[in-house]
Structures are given as structure tokens and as C-alpha cells.
């Protein structure tokens, strides 16, 4: 057989041709872009990141005013996106789990309410929901006529004003230490369980050690900050609130829009996961007299989580990506800040590429965490 008739050489030829065509297309596009930039008198490069901006950002972790660098603006956008996504993921998971369980409830009222929820929020665009929530929150009364709940929380057209710890850094650090302690305790429990399975010996002092792992780091951090305990309670002064922190209507709109929409999808995933557990498993667990908590912890959860986690991670990625819809209500998330930046700097290509790379990295990070967790919940094949 001559070599041009051999499948192997033909495969190589086709691929080489395709790559050459793509390379030629790429070069042509880049040349066009260079010409366009020269024609418009634009420069390229990443140097603009250290230039001063001419805009200020409303909501930020740290104050961002006109004159700060573009790099800092990116950081503000990224911080807002991560914070928004994190709180929305937690909220959506809680609502989704409740609705998912309710859909399978023997109580007909609970299951039909849950079904109505899923239908309404799944069959409408997320953007319409976000715009709806924004309109809803801006229709609240002015600060002077605000609705108050026991004088602790105030809802007005400036948003939701809630009490906040006086020393926010200390509070965040303590919370982080607590979460780290929980993760550590879970890890220790996992190791202890593995050891028990291998050796058959029970770890007698497990409970106090685990409790200590959870609470001691948080306690130490709290002591290190000088035991701050004061909370700042909002109070109406003139036309605005003093004290506490205010969640703006923009934040609330995008937060509600993300949480409630994704929760409807999570509910369906949870329901599917619970239904995937064979009913014989539950009957067997009841027959050997497991308590309801043990039934869910030892029998249902390990089997349902295998089915739940992969699509759940996809929903979390979807939530993160749709946090870019903050631009529709003017919440300064990564997309919205980048949009402002490209308007002011004119560096369309650079700004969009950086933003896309950051979103890609965040999505991949969620995927990596999901894979890691998935490794734990997979039941090993024997």
C-alpha cells in the first residue's frame, strides 16, 4: 500500500492540515487586530494595570477611590465575586436541600409547595428574576419610614441594615478559624474511622478531642484579638442609619437572584439523589433498628451523595458564572468592574482576557474541589 493510502499517514496529514489552517487563521486575526489598534492609535500591553483609575467603586472590602490602580480594581471585583458566590452557594444549598426533601415529603402540602417553587424558579430566566428582585428592593420605603424588626434589622430602599460586630477583621478571623477547625475535625474523624475499620479498636477519647479541634482554634484567635464582643446596632439618625452594616439593594437583588434560581436546580438534584437510594436499603436500615438520624447519616447520605455531588458542582460553577449578571443591577462584581475598566482604559482585549482567565480559574477550582470531595464519597469497588 503506498504511504498516502495508509490510515496512519492520512491521519497525520489531516491533522497537520487542520493545525496549519488554524495557525494561518490565527496569524491573520492577530495581524488584523494589530492594524486596527494602530489605526485607532491604541497601545497594548499589561502596563495599564498600574495606571491610576478615574472611577470609584461603591461596595468594596477596602475603600476604592478614583486614583487607585486598575490592579486594585480587579482585586475589588474578584473579592466581591468570590464573596457573593460563596454566600449564594451556601444559601442556595440550604434552600435547595430543604425544597428537595420537601418534594419527597409524605405531607402533600409541603410537596406541592416545593414543586410549585421549583417550577416557578426553573422555568424563568435568571436575569428576569434578578431585575425583578432589584425593582422589588428599590420599592421599599425611605429610611425614615423603614420597616424595622425589633429595632435590630431595618429594611428600607437603601437596603437591609443589620447589626454587625464592631471589629470586623476579628470576627472574620474567628469565623475562618472555626471553619478550619471543623474541617480539621472532620479529617481527624475520617482518619479515626479508617483506623477503627482496619484494627477494630475504638478511639475512646474521640469526642473531647474532636470538640477541642473544632473550638480551640477559634477561641485562640478570639483571645489573640483581645476578646472583642461588642456589636454595632443600627440606629436611625436623620435620613440614614448609623452603625451596623447595610446590604445594598444591588447586593440583595443579585444574591436573591442567584440563590433562589440555583436552589430550584439543587432541589431537583437532591430529590434525584434521594430517589436513587434503593428502597430496600431504607427498609433494611429500619429493620435493624437504626434511628432516623443514623438512617440518613449511615445509609442514605453515603449513597445519595455519589449521585448528588457531580451535578451539584456543575450548579455551583453555573452560579459563579452567573454572578456576572451583577452588571445588570450595578453590583461591582468582577464582570461589572471589568466592564467599567475597559470603558475607561480602552484596553478591551487585555481586560476581557484577564477576566475570562480569572473566571476559568475559579470554575476549574470549584471542579477540583468537587473532584476531591467526590473521591471521598465514592464507594470503593470490591
Amino acid at each position: 500500500m503506498p504511504f498516502w493510502r495508509q490510515p496512519r499517514s492520512r491521519a497525520i496529514a489531516w491533522q497537520a492540515l487542520l493545525l496549519a489552517a488554524l495557525a494561518a487563521l490565527g496569524i491573520w486575526l492577530v495581524l488584523n487586530a494589530r492594524q486596527a489598534l494602530i489605526d485607532r492609535g491604541m497601545t497594548s500591553g499589561l502596563g495599564f494595570l498600574f495606571d491610576e483609575t478615574q472611577f470609584a467603586l461603591g461596595e468594596a472590602f477596602f475603600s476604592f477611590t478614583s486614583g487607585d490602580t486598575y490592579l486594585k480594581a480587579f482585586a475589588v471585583g474578584l473579592g466581591n465575586t468570590v464573596l457573593l458566590s460563596a454566600v449564594s452557594i451556601v444559601t442556595a444549598s440550604i434552600i435547595g436541600a430543604i425544597v428537595g426533601f420537601a418534594r419527597l415529603s409524605p405531607n402533600a402540602l409541603a410537596s406541592s409547595l416545593a414543586r410549585a417553587y421549583v417550577y416557578a424558579f426553573r422555568n424563568t430566566p435568571q436575569l428576569v428574576q434578578i431585575v425583578f428582585w432589584y425593582t422589588f428592593f428599590t420599592l421599599f420605603p425611605a429610611a425614615r419610614l423603614s420597616w424595622s424588626f425589633f429595632d435590630f434589622v431595618f429594611a428600607s430602599n437603601r437596603g437591609l441594615t443589620i447589626p454587625a460586630p464592631e471589629n470586623m477583621t476579628a470576627f472574620t478571623a474567628v469565623a475562618a478559624a472555626f471553619l478550619a477547625g471543623c474541617a480539621l475535625a472532620w479529617w481527624v474523624a475520617h482518619l479515626a474511622d479508617r483506623r477503627r475499620r482496619r484494627t477494630g479498636q475504638k478511639w475512646k477519647s474521640a469526642k473531647p478531642v474532636l470538640l477541642a479541634t473544632i473550638f480551640v482554634p477559634a477561641l485562640l484567635v478570639w483571645l489573640a484579638f483581645g476578646m472583642p464582643l461588642t456589636w454595632s446596632i443600627p440606629e436611625l439618625k436623620g435620613f440614614n442609619f448609623a452603625g451596623g452594616i447595610t446590604l445594598s439593594p444591588e447586593f440583595l437583588a443579585i444574591y436573591f437572584g442567584l440563590s433562589f434560581y440555583i436552589a430550584a436546580f439543587i432541589a431537583e438534584i437532591v430529590r434525584g439523589g434521594l430517589l436513587s437510594v434503593d428502597s430496600g436499603q431504607i427498609e433494611a436500615a429500619n429493620a435493624i433498628g437504626l434511628t432516623r438520624i443514623d438512617l440518613y447519616r449511615r445509609v442514605v447520605a453515603p449513597q445519595a451523595l455519589r449521585v448528588i455531588i457531580p451535578p451539584l458542582a456543575a450548579q455551583y460553577v453555573s452560579l459563579l458564572k452567573n454572578s456576572s449578571l451583577g452588571v445588570a443591577v450595578g453590583y461591582p462584581d468582577l464582570f461589572s468592574v471589568s466592564n467599567t475598566m475597559l470603558t475607561y482604559s480602552g484596553r478591551t482585549i487585555e481586560v476581557l482576557c484577564i477576566m475570562a482567565a480569572v473566571y476559568l480559574a475559579l470554575s476549574l477550582a470549584i471542579g477540583a474541589v468537587a473532584n476531591f470531595v467526590n473521591g471521598f464519597v465514592q464507594i470503593p469497588e470490591r
Binding site: 491521519a11 489531516w14 491533522q15 487542520l18 493545525l19 488554524l22 486575526l29 492577530v30 488584523n32 487586530a33 492594524q35 486596527a36 489598534l37 409524605p106 405531607n107 402533600a108 402540602l109 409541603a110 409547595l113 417550577y119 416557578a120 426553573r122 422555568n123 424563568t124 430566566p125 435568571q126 436575569l127 428576569v128 428574576q129 431585575v131 425583578f132 425593582t135 422589588f136 420599592l139 460553577v317 458564572k321 452567573n322 456576572s324 449578571l325 452588571v327 445588570a328 464582570f335 466592564n339 475597559l342 478591551t348 482585549i349 476581557l352 477576566m355 475570562a356 473566571y359 476559568l360 470554575s363 476549574l364
Partner: protein, 374 residues
Amino acid sequence: MTEAPASYATIGGAPARLPPLGSTGFLARLHKRYFATPLMSIVTIVLAAITVWALAGLFRWAIWDAVWYAPEGAACRDAAGACWAVIAEKYRVMLFGAFPYQEQWRGGAIIALWLVWGVLTATNLFAVSLRLIGWLIVFIATIALLQGGIFGMPHVGTDLWGGLPLTFLIFGGTVAGGLPLAILLALGRRSQLPAIRFLSVATIECVRGIPLLVVLFFAALILPLFLPDQLNVDKLVRAEIGMIIFFAAYAAEVVRGGLQALPDGQEEAAKALGLSYWQRMRKIVLPQALAISIPALFNDIIRAFKNTTFFSILGLFDVLGATKAALQDPNWVRYGLEGYLFVFLLYFLICSGMSLYGRSLEQANARRGRKVER
């Protein structure tokens, strides 16, 4: 010795016994579904109280205290309830955007075409090929009616296209352009050739990892920089390219699922018969794989319909963009809630219809699957 009975079985079975007392009927059902245990009774009562309270509030706001007709919005200002007059006043802007008022019958015709053909498709009266040809005709008619310039209809530029006809056009273009691309990407991902496989995987994973808005901004803002000025295409077309690529990346994974579900023997048998790659794909593999993946594809198609709203962020006037524009009117600016509820309901009805049809396809698929197994 007593004689053993011949058999304990009775011919024809014993007469049916009545169910235990109190286990059937309305009261028993009520008890079982709502008040089986004390905890369940409490949950029922609390939920019922909340539901009644919420529905009563909604009824007062949306119907009892609502204003249905108010020229210039005067009567709405002192009303305690909803102001539905805003929809009576603005529905033409919401449904047709900035399309010239005299020509809005064309938009109405497009909406009617889509709804009628959508319902006819769902009834499964026609063969699949006829349904698809019908959709092609509907799609071409949509463009013709929007653009005009033929049959004595005045020409209308794309900057004036808007409302529900534009939403339908974006949606149709996304699905029609995205499905072939999705099939190519899915085949590429399963290809034996490493370069093609790598390119497909890279495209799919990169597009799936970034938000649709970023894809749309790439298409709308960066594409013109990379193309020579002579080749500059309309903003609507550029955004549509972004939609197609995003849809294709997601649909490609669904098609890949269908390809993987197909037994290897199908392709091996086709290979043994000496069919070429494209013959195998066209005649053997794709028809079966697509049939398997259609119900799952429907989820992506519904999402594509919901994602048409993203065009409003690019400053194009799909239904949401047109509604936003309509609510800029200072007389009506306070009644955004009613306006967006209208859009909410519109999408809810169309998406629910599509998802019902998708589910019926899924059931039909399951029935077909069982028939094959037998």
C-alpha cells in the same frame, strides 16, 4: 381414617373483601396526607397558615386593590395594589420593541407563526422531517418579516428589531446554528486523532468555564478588532455567534453522552461492512445517539431560550430589554414590578410548554427503549 381434602384452593378465588374501615375515602386520604403524625399536623397547619397569608396578600395586591386601566398612570398613583394599566399601556413596546408602529403587525405575525407551529410540533401530527422543514420555513419567514424589503413591506434595520420576535429569532438561530456545531465538537472529542480531540476538548472546556456574558462581550467587542473593516458584521449577528458557541459547548457534552451510550458493536459492525467514517456517523451512529440525547438536549434548548435575555445587557431589545426601555417612561417608571411580572409570566408559559414537550419525548424514548429490549 378421615379423608384428606382434595385441595384448599377455591375455584375462581374468594370474593373480594372490603378494605379495612376508615382506610379509604376523603377523610382517610386527608388524614394520611396531611395529619398522619402530630409533627406532620403541625407542619401542615404552619405551612397552610403561611400559604393562606401569602396568597391573601397577593390577591389583595394583584387583584382586589389593583388598577386595570389608567391613562397616563394618574389613577395608579394613589392605588394600594398593582398597576396593571402599565401593561395595557406599554404592551406593544414590550412585545415589539422599537419596531415601527405601522409595521408591528409583522411582529404579531411572527409570534403567531411560532406559537402555532410550536403547538403543532408538540401534537406530533406530522413526521419529524416535515416538522423540521416547517421550523426552517418559520425561521426564514421570521427574518423576512423583520427585515422587510419584499412583497411591498418597507425595510426595517436591525437596530429597530425588538421584543418577542427578536427573542424568537435569537433563540431559533442559537439552536439551528449550535446543534450542528455541537455534533462536530462531540465527534471531535471522541476522535482518534489527537490534534482534533485536543482542539475540541479545549474549546468545550474553555467555553464552559467562562460566563455567557463574557462570551457575548468577546463576540461583540473583540471580534470587530480581529476582522478587517470590510468584513464587519452587524452587532446582532456578532452576539448571535457568541450565543451559538456557548450553546454548542454545552450541547456537545449532551451529544457526547448519547454517543457513549451507544454500544460499540454498532460502529464496529458498520466498520466491518466497509463504511467510511462519515457514512458510519451519518447512517449508523448519529441517528441513534441523537435520539438518545434529545430529552437531555431539551434542557439546553430551554436554557438557550432563557439566555436570550442576556441580549438586554448588550443594549439589544429582546423582550426584557424592550420592557426595560418601556419602563423608562417617567409616567410609568414606578411600576417596574408589574412590568417584570408580565415578562416573568411570558417566559414561564413558554418554558413550561417546552419542558412538558421535552418530558413527553423522554417518555416516548423510554417506551421505544423497552420495545427494543424485548
